[in-house]
C-alpha cells in the first residue's frame, strides 16, 4: 500500500506500508544501529517521533518476548529500506509487521532512506507526517508544519507509569514502598527509580547488581521519595524536552545532597537543569550504538548506545560545582558529569545498552559503590 512521507520543509518520499493503513505525525529522527530494532521500538524515549533505520534490512530476526524494553511500542511510525517478512532466528515469535500492527504503529518500506537521513543530517530533525490515507502532498506538508512539535512539551506524562511497581523475576510487579522483593537477594540496596520513560534493562541490571528497585511515576514529589528512605535515586531516560518538565526538575533539586543520584539520558538532562545549567535541542541528535565517549578521568574510550535529541550545555554549568566526566569524541559534546559536593552523577548515553555495546556497565557499579559508601 502506497504511503507518503512528508517533511515540514516540503520534502516528500514515497514508500509502501508493510502494516496496512495508517497515519502518524511526529519528529523525524534516524537511528544508526544495525541490530536491535525491537529494543528501539520499545524504548519510551521515542515517544512522539518517527524513527528511520539507516540499516536497510529490517525484520530479519523477527520479534520475541524477551527483548522488550517496555510494555509498548513508542515511535509513531517506523521507516526502513527493506522489510523482511520471513524472520530467521531461534527466538523469533512473530514478525515485525505483526508486532507493529498489534501496537497500531505504521511501518513503511521501499524508499531511499539514506537520502532522508542525509537530508535530516543537513537541515536537522524535522516535523513529519507519514500516511497511507492522505496522499495529497500539500495537505501533508501543511499538517506536518502545523504540528506542535516536541520543544517545550511535556512528553514524560505520556509514558510514565500510572502506578508504582517493583521488579522481580525479570518483570514488573505492581507495588509500592519496596514491597516487591526479588527472591534470593540479601541486604539489597533500596533504589527509587523515577520513571520518565524507563527501559526495563535499567531495572534488570540494577536488580542483578543487588538493588531492590521501586519504580515511581515521574510526578512523585521529593518528600514522598525521601520518606521511603531509599539508598539512592535513579533518574531514567525519557522522551522529549527536559524544559517541558519543570516540576520534575524542581523535585530532583530537592533531592540533591539528600540521597545518591544516578541519571541517564533525560535523567542526566534533568540533573543539568537542577544544577542550574541549561539544555538545548541538538541538530539531529545522537541515535545509534557506535558513539565514542571518552572518560576524562581514565582516558579510556567506551562505545556507547545513545538516543537523545536534547543535551546539557556544558558552558552553562558552574565548573566549580559540576565536573565534566565524559565527552563525546565525535563532536566534543557533554556526555557525563558529576556533582563535586553532592553524591550525584549522570551520563547522556545509555549504559544499560539494549540495544548496543556493553562497555558502560561499570556506571551501575559506580552507582552501587556510591550508595554503599553513603550508607556506611
Amino acid at each position: 500500500m502506497k504511503a507518503l512521507i512528508a517533511l515540514e520543509d516540503g520534502t516528500i518520499f514515497e514508500g509502501q506500508s508493510f502494516t496496512g493503513r495508517g497515519e502518524a505525525i511526529g519528529e523525524m529522527v534516524f537511528n544508526t544501529s544495525m541490530s536491535g530494532y525491537q529494543e528501539i521500538l520499545t524504548d519510551p524515549s521515542y515517544t512522539g517521533q518517527i524513527v528511520t533505520m539507516t540499516y536497510p534490512l529490517i525484520g530479519n530476526y523477527g520479534v520475541n518476548s524477551e527483548d522488550m524494553e517496555s510494555a509498548a511500542v513508542h515511535p509513531r511510525a517506523f521507516l526502513v529500506r527493506e522489510y523482511n517478512a520471513t524472520p530467521s532466528n531461534f527466538r523469533s515469535e512473530q514478525t515485525l509487521a505483526q508486532f507493529l500492527k498489534h501496537y497500531g504503529v505504521l511501518g513503511v518500506e521501499g524508499f531511499d532512506t539514506r537520502a532522508l537521513v542525509r537530508h535530516i543530517r543537513t537541515v536537522g530533525a524535522l516535523k513529519a507526517i507519514v500516511s497511507t490515507e492522505d496522499l495529497n502532498k500539500e495537505s501533508l506538508v501543511a499538517r506536518a508544519k502545523a504540528w506542535v512539535g516536541l520543544v517545550g512539551q511535556d512528553m514524560v506524562q505520556k509514558v510514565t507509569c500510572d502506578q508504582p511497581y517493583g521488579w522481580a523475576d525479570n518483570r514488573p510487579v505492581p507495588g509500592t514502598r519496596f514491597s516487591t522483593v526479588q527472591a534470593g537477594m540479601s541486604n539489597p540496596l533500596k533504589v527509587v527509580a523515577l520513571d520518565c520513560g524507563i527501559k526495563f534493562n535499567q531495572l534488570r541490571i540494577m536488580t542483578e547488581k543487588g538493588c531492590q528497585v521501586q519504580v515511581l511515576p515521574a510526578t512523585t514529589d521529593a518528600d514522598t521519595i525521601l520518606a521511603m528512605e531509599p539508598d539512592g535515586v535513579f533518574l531514567s531516560n525519557g522522551p522529549g524536552d527536559p524544559a517541558g518538565i519543570p516540576g520534575v526538575v524542581e523535585m530532583v533539586r530537592a533531592l540533591l545532597g539528600k540521597t545518591p543520584i544516578f541519571g541517564i539520558c533525560l535523567g542526566h538532562q534533568i540533573l543539568g537543569l537542577a544544577y542550574g545549567g541549561s539544555t538545548y535541542k541538538v541538530k539531529f541528535g545522537h541515535r545509534g550504538g557506535n558513539q565514542p565517549v571518552k572518560d576524562l578521568a581514565t582516558g579510556h574510550v567506551e562505545i556507547t548506545s545513545q538516543n537523545h535529541g536534547f543535551a546539557v550545555d556544558s558552558d552553562s554549568l558552574d565548573k566549580e560545582v559540576i565536573e565534566v566526566t565524559h565527552i563525546n569524541l565525535n563532536d566534543g559534546s557533554l556526555e557525563g558529569m558529576r556533582h563535586r559536593i553532592c553524591p550525584a552523577f549522570s551520563v547522556q548515553y545509555h549504559p544499560e545498552h539494549a540495544p548496543g555495546p556493553h562497555d558502560s556497565l561499570y556506571l551501575f557499579d559506580r552507582f552501587v559503590a556510591m550508595m554503599r559508601s553513603e550508607k556506611a
Binding site: E39, P56, D112, A115, N290, H300, I303, L329
Partner: protein, 1070 residues
C-alpha cells in the same frame, strides 16, 4: 599516547608469493602499513619475496629486500639493518610464523629487536590449539570438544572418544591446509597423518564437528590503552564445515538479534584481551547453534587477515593502516577517520548497505580434483559487491565473478534442469563451487525453503531472499520487454537483475534493455561508503551503485581517466594486473589527471580508497562500466592494464564511442586475430611456427597432418592457456576436438606447430607510437610449451647470444611500431636452433611487468600510462634501454598441495597462483634464492632420484655429472640408470613401481631421497611417474619436472657450495 620515540627503524615482513589463502590482501595491508609508518617518520625496512606487489615498490619503504622469507634470510636482513622493532602482524601467516622462529631462535633478543603488536607468547597462545582452548575456558567461553594430539595413534583414540564426524585442524598452518572433515576412522587416519606432517609443530587438533551451525566473524581492534572496537561483523551463508575463505559471506551479520550480537562482541573483546594482542587487528570466528543460539569460539587470528581486508573494503575503515599506527603507540582516539575527517578511529563503523563476498574457484584448471568444499581453503580469489539489499548485492557479486554468469541464474548458463531429483539433492547437500546453481535450480522447481535448508544448512534468511529473486525471475519471464513499465523495471534492477539477465528472460538484447531503461529513466545512482551511515559528511569518493533516488556521485570538471581493474584473482589473472592498475592511478596523479578506478576485488591495493581519486566498487561488466561512464564521461579509459577482464570489454566500449586510450582496439585485434596477425608478421618478414585455424575435426586432422606433430591446439581468445594442449598424434586431436564447444563451427580452434626443446623468451616493451624501448628480455628456464606464467625465467637472458638478443630487440621494435602500440607490449618468442619464432604478441600490460620493473628499476606501467596520456618517451626521459649487471630470476608457485589427485606436471595450461623473485649479483645464487622463496630448500647432500623421458636424457647428463662431483648419490630407474652408466656417471638403480618392491615410492616414503627429477610427456603421463611426483609433493621432497629446470637447480646448488646467500635491498640493485 603519542607515537613512540624510542624506536626509529621498523622491519615489516610481507607474505611472499600469492598462494591459496594468502593473496593480494597482504599487499594491501603491507603497503598501507609501510605508508602509515613512513608518514610518522619511521625508517621502514621491508622483506617480501613477491615482486608483483605494490609494497615492494622501491620508493615505498626505505630499504626493500626482495628476498626469501625464511629464518635464515630474515636474520641476515636483521644483522644488516639492525632494526629497533619488527611488525609481524601484517604479512599473514607467513610473517607470523617466521617471526615466531626469529624469537625462538634468539635472534630478536640477540639484536635487541622488539616485536610490535603481538609478542611471541601471544601468537603462540592464539595459534597453538591447546593454549587457545585453555585461554578460552579461562574466560568462560566455549570451544568445541577436542583433543590435541601429536601422533596418529592418539588421533584415532580422540576420534573414537569425540565421535564422528570430526574435524582435523593442523596447528600453525594456513588457510586450513591439511585439515578436513573425517566421517570415519579411515578418513581420520588419512587426514591425521598428512596434518601432522604439515604442522610446524607436528600437532593437530581433532575436534567435534559443528557441521550445520551458523558461522560468524568479528573484526576487532585494540590499542595500547586497551580501547577495543569492533570494525565489522560477517555472517557466512555457508554453514560450518566450509572454510570461511570458501564461503559466501555477508556483512554485516543478518540473523542475530542485538542481544546475540552483543554477546559475540563481548566475547571478541574478552578474547583479544585474554590472548593479549597489544595493538592492532584480530579476527575471531564463531559458530552458533541455529536451534538454541549456543555460541562456540572456533578460532582467532592475532593479525590482519583476509577477512580484515574484506572488512576494510566493506566499511571504509582502513584496518591495516590503523593497525600500523597503533603498533607504534598511537591510540584509537588520536587517529582521525580519513573518511569523515571530523571524527576519530575510535568508533565502530555502521553501514547502510549490504556487502556480499563470493569466492572464485578454478577447479576447471584441475579437472582431477574433486569440486567439494571443506575446511581446507581451495578458492583462489574473491569478489565483493555492495548493494542496498542482499538480493542486489548477491546478484552483483555473481556477475562480478568473471565466470561468464550474469547474476543468480536467469542467463541460460549452467542449466541443471536435466538433473534427476536425487542428483539435485546431492548438489544441495555437498558444498561445492557450483552449489549456487543447484540452489537456483531447486528454487525454480519450487522446492521449499525448509527442504533446501534441511539439505544445505544455509540459513532460511538467505534462502528466502534467493527465493524472492527467483520469484521475480519467473514474473519477468511472463513480461514483454517493450511493454515493461518503469516501476517493474526498477524493481528488477533493485533485485540486482542485470540487463543481460533481463534480455535473456525477455528474449531481447542487452542493448534493448539498456535503451528502455534509459528511456524510462531507470538508471543507477551512486552512494558513498562512509563508515557512518551518513551521520557525518564524508570526503572520500568511494561509491557503489544502486537503484534509488539520490545520487551522491558528482562529476568534477577536471580532466579524468578511468582505469578498469582485473576483478577477482584467478589463475592467470592476479596481483600483477592490479599492480599495473595501481601504477596507472599513481601516474595520473603525478600529471594532475583525475583517476577513476573501477574494480570488484576487495583484496587489492586498487580498491583502497586512497589509491585513486575516485573508486567505484562495481562489477566489471559492460553494463556496470557503461553506467559509470555515462555519469563520469571520462576523457579516456584504460583497458590494457587490468588483464583479460577489461580487455574483453574493449571492443564493445569502443563501439559505444568510449574513448579508449593507448593502443587502439583495432591494433589489439590485429595482434589477436590469427589471420590478421599472420599478414602482419609476413609484412615484417618475421617467422612464426606453422599454424592454422580450424572449425571441425576433419579440418583439424588435415591441418595437424600438414604441419606435422607435435602441435599445440587451443581455442582462440584464451587466458592463462585455458584448454591448451600439446598433441602428439591424431588420437590427441580427436580427443581435443571432442571436448564440448570445440567443433561447433562457431568458435575457432588454433593449431600451431609445437617447437620441441625450444627456448622461450618473454619481452616487455613500451612504445609511444614512434619510439620503442625494451623494458626487459626474459629467458625462460623451462622449454617452450610450458605456459609462460608457470615458467621460471632469468633477466637478462643467460644463454642467448648477443646476436640473437639484438634480433629480438629489432623484431620487438618493428612489431611495436607497425602495430602503433601506445603503451605496453609483451612478446613471446621461441628460439630453436638459433632461429627466432614469434609465438604471441600482446599489446597490453603483461604478467611480467612488475617483475621487470623491480629487476630494472624502470616503472614501466607508470611510464606507459603517461605515454597513453600523450607524452613521448623522450619527454619522459626514457631514451635508452637499461642494462643491468645483476640477475633477477622469477619462479612460479603452485597450489598442487591443495588439490588431491592432481599431477604436478607443467604444461601449456597455467596452474600457478603466484610468483617470487630471486635477485643477486651471481646467477646461481639468484636461482637459489628464487627456489628458496618458492618454498624449496635445495639439498646440499644426499640422494638425487632421476627418472627422465628419453628426449631429456642428454639434457640432464651434464647436471648428473656435476651432482656426482658435488658428492650426491644418484638413484635412477632402469632407462635413465643405464643411460647414465653408459656415459660413465655412477648411479644406483631402483625399481619403478610396476617393477615390484622395494620400489622408488618406498625410498621416497623412507625419506631417503633429497631431490626428485622426474620428467614426462605432457598428457601421456604414465601412472608410475604420476605417483612419484605426487609422493614427492605430499612428502615435501623438492622435485623438478623438466630437464631444463633440473639443470638450473644444479647451477644453483653449485653456487650455494661456493658462497652463502647474502641479502641486498632492491635499492642497491637499481
Amino acid at each position: 599516547m603519542p607515537k613512540r620515540t624510542d624506536i626509529h627503524k621498523i622491519l615489516i615482513i610481507g607474505s611472499g608469493p600469492i598462494i591459496i589463502s594468502q593473496a593480494c590482501e597482504f599487499d594491501y595491508s603491507g603497503a598501507q602499513a609501510v605508508k602509515a609508518l613512513k608518514e610518522e617518520g619511521y625508517e621502514v625496512v621491508l622483506i617480501n619475496s613477491n615482486p608483483a606487489t605494490i609494497m615492494t615498490d622501491p620508493e615505498l619503504a626505505d630499504r626493500t629486500y626482495i628476498e626469501p622469507i625464511t629464518l635464515e634470510m630474515v636474520t641476515k636482513v636483521i644483522e644488516k639493518e639492525r632494526p629497533d622493532a619488527l611488525l609481524p602482524t601484517l604479512g599473514g601467516q607467513t610473517a607470523l610464523n617466521v617471526a615466531i622462529k626469529l624469537a625462538e631462535s634468539g635472534i630478536l633478543d640477540k639484536y635487541k629487536v622488539e616485536m610490535l603488536a603481538a609478542k611471541v607468547d601471544v601468537i603462540r597462545k592464539a595459534e597453538g590449539r591447546e593454549e587457545f582452548r585453555a585461554a578460552m575456558q579461562a574466560i568462560g567461553l566455549k570451544v568445541p570438544e577436542s583433543a590435541i594430539v601429536h601422533t596418529l595413534e592418539d588421533a584415532m583414540v580422540a576420534g573414537d572418544a569425540i565421535g564422528f564426524p570430526v574435524i582435523v585442524r593442523p596447528s600453525f598452518t594456513l588457510g586450513g591446509t591439511g585439515g578436513g572433515v573425517a566421517y570415519n576412522r579411515q578418513e581420520l587416519e588419512a587426514l591425521s597423518s598428512s596434518g601432522l606432517d604439515l604442522s610446524m609443530t607436528t600437532e593437530i587438533m581433532v575436534e567435534r564437528s559443528l557441521l550445520g551451525w551458523k558461522e560468524f566473524e568479528l573484526e576487532v581492534m585494540r590499542d595500547c590503552k586497551d580501547n577495543v572496537v569492533i570494525i565489522c561483523s560477517i555472517e557466512n551463508m555457508d554453514a560450518m564445515g566450509v572454510h570461511t575463505g570458501d564461503s559466501i559471506t555477508v556483512a554485516p551479520a543478518q540473523t542475530l538479534t542485538d542481544r546475540e550480537y552483543q554477546e559475540m562482541r563481548d566475547a571478541a573483546i574478552a578474547i583479544i584481551r585474554e590472548i593479549g594482542v597489544e595493538t592492532g587487528g584480530s579476527n575471531v570466528q564463531f559458530a552458533v547453534n541455529p536451534q538454541d543460539g549456543e555460541l562456540m569460539i572456533i578460532e582467532m587470528n592475532p593479525r590482519v587477515s583476509r577477512s580484515s581486508a574484506l572488512a576494510s573494503k566493506a566499511t571504509g575503515f582502513p584496518i591495516a593502516k590503523i593497525a600500523a599506527k597503533l603498533a607504534v603507540g598511537f591510540t584509537l582516539d588520536e587517529i582521525k577517520n580519513d573518511i569523515t575527517r571530523e571524527t576519530y578511529a575510535s568508533f565502530e563503523p555502521t553501514i547502510d548497505y549490504c556487502v556480499v563476498k563470493i569466492p572464485r574457484f578454478t577447479f576447471e584448471k584441475f579437472p582431477e580434483a574433486e569440486d567439494v568444499l571443506s575446511t581446507a581453503m581451495k578458492s583462489v580469489g574473491e569478489t565483493m559487491a555492495i548493494g542496498r539489499t542482499f538480493k542486489e548485492a548477491f546478484q552483483k557479486a555473481m556477475r562480478s565473478l568473471e565466470t561468464g554468469r550474469a547474476g543468480f541464474g536467469a542467463d541460460g548458463k549452467e542449466r541443471l534442469d536435466h538433473l534427476e531429483l536425487f542428483e539435485l539433492e546431492t548438489g544441495l547437500r555437498v558444498p561445492s563451487s557450483k552449489r549456487v546453481s543447484y540452489l537456483h535450480e531447486a528454487l525454480m522447481r519450487g522446492m521449499t525453503v525448509e527442504r533446501i535448508y534441511e539439505m544445505s544448512q544455509i540459513d532460511p534468511w538467505f534462502l528466502r531472499n534467493l527465493e524472492q529473486i527467483v520469484a521475480l525471475e519467473q514474473e519477468i519471464r511472463l513480461q514483454d520487454l517493450p511493454g515493461m513499465n518503469r516501476e517493474f523495471l526498477k524493481q528488477c534492477k533493485q533485485y540486482g537483475f542485470s540487463d543481460t539477465q533481463l534480455a535473456f528472460l525477455t528474449g531481447t538484447s542487452g542493448n534493448e534493455v539498456r535503451a528502455l531503461r534509459k528511456q524510462l529513466g531507470v538508471v543507477p545512482i551512486y552512494k558513498l561508503v562512509d563508515t557512518c551511515a551518513a551521520e557525518f559528511e564524508s570526503y572520500t569518493p568511494y561509491y557503489y551503485s544502486t537503484y534509488e533516488q539520490e545520487n551522491e556521485a558528482s562529476r568534477s570538471d577536471r580532466k579524468k581517466v578511468m582505469i578498469l581493474g582485473g576483478g577477482p584473482n584467478r589463475i592467470g589473472q592476479g596481483i600483477e594486473f592490479d599492480y599495473c592498475c595501481v601504477h596507472a592511478a599513481f601516474a595520473l596523479a603525478e600529471i594532475g589527471v583525475e583517476s577513476i578506478m573501477v574494480n570488484s576485488n576487495p583484496e587489492t591495493v586498487s580498491t583502497d580508497y586512497d589509491t585513486s581519486d575516485k573508486l567505484y566498487f562495481e562489477p566489471l561488466t559492460l553494463e556496470d562500466v557503461m553506467n559509470i561512464i555515462d555519469l563520469e564521461r571520462p576523457d579516456g579509459v584504460i583497458v590494457q592494464f587490468g588483464g583479460q577482464t577489461p580487455l574483453n570489454l574493449a571492443v564493445a566500449l569502443a563501439e559505444a564511442g568510449v574513448p579508449i586510450i593507448g593502443t587502439t582496439p583495432d591494433s589489439i585485434d590485429r595482434a589477436e586475430d590469427r589471420k590478421r596477425f599472420q599478414q602482419f608478421l609476413q609484412k615484417l618478414n618475421l617467422r612464426q611456427p606453422n599454424n592454422d585455424t580450424v572449425y571441425t575435426l576433419d579440418e583439424a586432422l588435415s591441418v595437424a597432418g600438414q604441419i606435422g606433430y607435435p602441435v599445440v591446439v587451443r581455442p582462440s581468445y584464451v587466458l592463462g592457456g585455458r584448454d591448451m594442449r600439446i598433441v602428439y598424434s591424431e588420437q590427441g586431436i580427436r580427443e581435443f576436438m571432442a571436448k564440448p564447444g570445440m567443433a561447433d563451427n562457431k568458435h575457432p580452434v588454433l593449431i600451431d606447430k609445437f617447437l620441441e626443446d625450444a627456448i622461450e623468451v618473454d619481452v616487455d616493451a613500451i612504445c609511444d607510437g614512434k619510439k620503442t624501448i625494451i623494458g626487459g628480455i626474459m629467458e625462460h628456464i623451462e622449454e617452450a610449451g610450458i605456459h609462460s606464467g608457470d615458467s621460471s625465467c632469468v633477466l637478462p637472458p643467460h644463454t642467448l647470444s648477443p646476436q640473437l638478443i639484438e634480433e629480438i630487440k629489432q623484431a620487438t621494435r618493428a612489431m611495436a611500431e607497425e602495430l602503433g602500440v601506445i603503451g605496453l607490449m609483451n612478446v613471446q618468442y621461441a628460439v630453436k636452433d638459433e632461429d627466432l619464432y614469434i609465438l604471441e604478441v600482446n599489446p597490453r600490460a603483461s604478467r611480467t611487468v612488475p617483475f621487470v620493473s623491480k629487476a630494472t628499476g624502470v616503472p614501466l606501467a607508470k611510464l606507459a600510462t603517461k605515454v597513453m596520456m600523450g607524452m613521448t618517451l623522450d619527454q619522459l626521459g626514457l631514451t635508452t634501454e637499461v642494462s643491468i649487471k645483476h640477475w633477477a630470476v622469477k619462479e612460479a608457485v603452485f597450489p598442487f598441495d591443495r588439490f588431491k589427485n592432481v599431477d604436478t606436471l607443467l604444461g601449456p595450461e597455467m596452474k600457478s597462483t603466484g610468483e617470487v623473485m630471486g635477485i643477486d649479483d651471481n646467477l646461481g645464487l639468484a636461482l637459489a634464492k628464487a627456489q628458496l622463496a618458492a618454498g624449496v630448500t635445495l639439498p646440499v647432500s644426499g640422494t638425487v632420484f632421476l627418472s627422465v623421458r628419453d628426449g631429456d636424457k642428454e639434457g640432464i647428463l651434464e647436471a648428473a655429472r656435476q651432482l656426482v662431483e658435488m658428492k650426491f648419490t644418484l638413484l635412477a630407474t632402469k632407462g635413465t640408470a643405464s643411460y647414465l652408466a653408459q656415459h660413465g656417471v655412477p648411479c644406483d638403480q631402483v625399481n619403478k613401481i610396476s617393477e615390484g618392491r622395494p620400489h622408488i615410492l618406498d625410498k621416497l616414503q623412507d625419506k631417503q631421497v633429497a631431490w626428485v627429477v622426474n620428467t614426462s610427456l605432457g598428457r601421456r603421463t604414465t601412472e608410475d611417474s604420476y605417483r612419484i611426483r605426487r609422493a614427492a609433493l605430499e612428502l615435501r621432497i623438492p622435485y623438478t619436472t623438466t630437464s631444463s629446470g633440473a639443470v638450473s637447480v644444479v647451477l644453483a646448488m653449485q653456487a650455494l657450495r661456493k658462497s652463502s646467500l647474502g641479502v641486498q635491498p632492491i635499492q642497491y640493485f637499481i
